[in-house]
């Protein structure tokens, strides 16, 4: 009886993938912040971070016009002479995909990501969620950001959670999938590690696991980023399958982004330092990156009104 309880199921999963010590993880990630990145290494890191941005707008008040200007920002974040690269993708709601495709055109390296599957709660019938995914792909989405069924995970129904992810993988067709764990609702590092493994076992090489929707109180932190990239590392060393990673929400400054990249450099190594394997789900971050790149190039900070932190101004 007890052995069938959700608690026992979680227990078995932890035994399988190993536990995480919260104090130890936080000590580890505190060391990333003490890395001092200067001059050319800083400039290189800033440009890399810019190329990894999934430029995001996920608001009820999004309009085709807003999405079009976001796409323009994605294509040409700043004066090209400054060497700021294009971002990796724009991230929009499914209803906005066709407008984004129109704004970006077909011949572009900037990809369109869409948050399908009844984002952010995921509380819609599976059939509805799958239909949403298919519609977004049909409208031109290159990437789908789905949310896992946290309810299923927390009640120990891992099979249900994994079957749903499998179904979404199928619905994606050629599109890349990003699986959002919504870490703040999983609460513990143990749960985050376990959920990472459950997701990785049913997605394809090159698909992502992603921290959060950005719609809850706690989003990407160095701590949960570390737990997830260690899971990716262990899975890769065990199977040879490379899973990509996307922290989302809460990364607003260039300094933060560089610290996250140091974590990648020291945990997953050089093969993950590119935008096929690592992304930042962010909006305000991009302008701070540009501001810092400009500062590295000119030696001086620009006036604050040069770079707005509000996405409205894109």
């Amino acid at each position: 009886m007890l052995a069938r309880s959700p608690h026992a199921a979680l227990r078995r999963l932890f035994d399988e993938v190993g536990p995480v010590d919260a104090v130890g993880i936080e000590e580890r990630v505190a060391k990333y912040g003490t890395r001092s990145i200067k001059k050319t290494s800083k400039l290189w890191g800033l440009k890399l971070a810019a190329s990894m941005v999934d430029l995001t707008t996920l608001e009820g008040k999004d309009t085709p016009g807003k999405v079009a200007s976001l796409c323009q920002k994605a294509l040409r974040p700043h004066d090209p002479d400054l060497g700021v690269p294009q971002v990796a993708a724009v991230c929009v709601y499914p209803a906005m995909v066709k407008h984004a495709r129109k704004a970006l055109g077909r011949e572009t390296a900037v990809r369109i990501a869409s948050v399908a599957t009844a984002f952010p709660s995921g509380q819609a019938p599976l059939k509805t969620r799958l239909a949403e995914v298919k519609a977004a792909v049909a409208d031109g989405a290159d990437e789908i950001d789905m949310v896992i069924n946290r309810g299923a995970f927390l009640s120990g129904e891992f099979g249900v959670m994994q079957d749903e992810i499998r179904a979404v993988v199928e619905a994606c067709g050629q599109a890349t999938l990003k699986v959002i764990l919504e870490v703040s609702e999983l609460e513990t590092y143990d749960n985050i590690r376990a959920a990472s493994f459950l997701a990785m076992r049913v997605i394809r090489e090159g698909d992502f696991i992603k921290t959060s929707t950005g719609k809850t109180s706690l989003n990407a932190t160095l701590g949960n980023n570390q737990v997830m990239i260690e899971a990716i590392r262990d899975y890769y060393l065990d199977t040879g399958v490379s899973i990509a990673m996307k922290p989302a929400g809460g990364i607003r400054t260039a300094k933060q982004a560089l610290t996250f990249l140091v974590a990648i450099k020291e945990t997953l190594g050089d093969a993950w330092l590119n935008n096929a394997r690592y992304r930042f789900g962010a909006s305000a971050l991009l302008n701070d990156l540009i501001r810092q790149i400009e500062k590295e190039n000119t030696g001086a900070y620009q006036a604050p009104y040069y770079f707005s932190e509000a996405t409205e101004s894109y």
Partner: protein, 500 residues
């Protein structure tokens, strides 16, 4: 232990064993700390509140182990200088310090702590130049921790009536102290703060390779207005240490250093009524069970053995791993030490700095050679080392057994010996099978096992799911040949007083 992919049957074609690439795709530019260490070209003895030239007129060079450049000249004390220092300390005890109420002594200690904080960056750079430790450690650990010890003991100075319930305490008088080169400023604080808080006066000798921050602290003692003679510093090598320890005046001797020297001291003081505390070597076991959070354990192992280039008496130099996870832990350790940065200690990104002296580098090299010769398997990352200065790559030895020299003798360098065990009893037996007993670490998810281990491990400190954590309130000291007496906390204070 089941594999991480127990539920997945892979149908993918075979490919080469996956490996992580820790290359130079994103190399960090040099990032040296630039604060001015404000070094003098020549440092004198500090006796009776003054900087005085040694009677011999001789000086020796202090070398920066990172590049072998001379940093400054240090006075070479003689027996006559040591005697002058003791006379000053005795006069200061009889006339001033011994009579001062605790709340007055506290004011001086608070002042010293705050002045040290004010000059923290300067002291951190000086400590790194002198000893070779990475600036991030001297900045984030040594200097703040030294200040914390002064603060903590300042807090005790006016509350000594409560340190031994039901008893009253009195200072001992003059104490003689000799400290090692691995944490020059911090060991100084560990020694000075409790002695002064209790009302004793001090004659102290720093290690000959690392005298500079000690003499810089003398400047702070002057600025704090500490009465002359309360603290006296004499510098030089082992002969000066012998003069400090064998002088008739001190009522107590405190020594931190090697077990070898500790034994000599113990012999020479036998038959005298001097009190003594010795904090000597260690060969700590860091024990990892199969249910431990392995990545955090690996982090703790790295912190335990590579902190301060392994020049730590409580370093976790013997790793005992539960057999089911031994291979996994070794693989994780290898990947972890590939990203440790060895090099210029002043660079803020350096994880492992310079070995403290040529002599120590020679000892480490010889011990590592013996490990290879005795058949243990060695792993070192391929990191580049600076061409000048004393450096040693972080080193792992696997397949080590209890009879290997590298499992029994203290190496005092960045070298980890990895042994395995099968049961809890075997782990305890192996951990305790050593002449030392300073510290130990236990890594497990099971709380009851932590309690059992901490009871049965014969070690002064047992860390659970962490390593190398220090606090002024926590007593530190050893069992067996790791010495006796405690430093820090209430217990540390009691070693500097008589109970009435």
């Amino acid at each position: 232990m089941p594999t991480l992919t127990a539920k997945k049957t892979s149908t993918r074609p075979a490919r080469p064993a996956p490996e992580l690439i820790f290359g130079d795709l994103w190399e960090f530019d040099p990032s040296p700390e630039t604060a001015d260490p404000k070094l003098k070209t020549r440092y004198e003895l500090f006796i009776n509140g003054q900087f005085v030239a040694p009677k011999s007129g001789k000086y020796f060079d202090s070398i920066n182990p990172a590049n072998e450049h001379k940093l400054a000249e240090i006075a070479q004390a003689s027996a006559a200088d040591v005697d002058a220092a003791y006379q000053a300390a005795k006069a200061a005890y009889d006339n001033v310090w011994g009579k001062l109420p605790g709340r007055e002594r506290a004011k001086y200690l608070f002042r010293i702590a705050r002045l040290l904080q004010d000059r923290a960056r300067e002291f951190a750079v000086a400590e790194t130049l002198d000893g070779g430790k990475p600036i991030k450690e001297s900045r984030d650990f040594d200097v703040p921790m030294a200040a914390a010890h002064f603060f903590y003991h300042a807090g005790w100075a006016d509350k000594l009536d409560y340190v031994a319930p039901g008893r009253r305490v009195a200072p001992l008088g003059v104490v003689g102290q000799v400290i090692p080169w691995n944490f020059p400023l911090l060991m100084l604080a560990w020694k000075l703060a409790p002695a002064l808080a209790m009302g004793n006066t001090v004659v102290l000798k720093p290690a000959e390779t690392t005298s500079i921050t000690c003499l810089k602290l003398a400047e702070i003692l002057q600025d704090a207005g500490l009465p002359p003679g309360v603290v006296n510093f004499v510098t030089g090598a082992g002969d000066v240490g012998a003069a400090v320890l064998n002088h008739p005046i001190p009522a107590k001797i405190a020594f931190t250093g090697s077990t070898e020297v500790g034994k000599i001291i113990l012999r020479s003081l036998a038959g005298t009524d001097k009190k003594m505390t010795l904090e000597l070597g260690g060969k700590a076991a860091n024990i990892v069970f199969d249910d431990a959070p392995l990545d955090q354990a690996v982090e703790g192992i790295v912190n335990g053995i590579f902190f301060n280039q392994g020049h730590v008496c409580c370093a976790g130099s013997r790793l005992l791993v539960h057999e089911p996870v031994a291979e996994q832990v070794l693989a994780k350790l290898k990947n972890r030490i590939k990203v440790l940065r060895v090099g210029d200690p002043l660079d803020k990104n350096t994880d492992i700095g310079a070995i403290n002296s040529k002599e120590q580098l020679r000892k480490i090299t010889a011990m590592v050679a013996s490990g290879v010769k005795e058949g243990a398997e060695m792993f070192q990352p391929t990191c580049r080392l600076p061409t000048k200065g004393y450096y040693f790559r972080p080193t792992l030895f696997s397949g080590v057994s209890m009879s290997h020299r590298i499992a029994r003798e203290e190496i005092f360098g960045p070298v980890l010996s990895i042994l395995t065990f099968r049961t809890v009893d075997e782990a305890i037996e192996k951990a305790n099978n050593t002449a030392y007993g300073l510290s130990a670490g236990v890594w497990t998810d099971k709380g009851s096992r932590i309690l059992k281990m901490s009871t049965e491990l014969k070690a002064g400190v047992v860390w659970a799911n962490t390593y190398n954590k220090f606090d002024p309130a926590s007593p530190f000291g050893g069992y067996k040949e790791s010495g006796f007496g405690r430093e820090g906390g209430r217990q540390g204070l009691l070693d500097y007083c008589t109970l009435i």
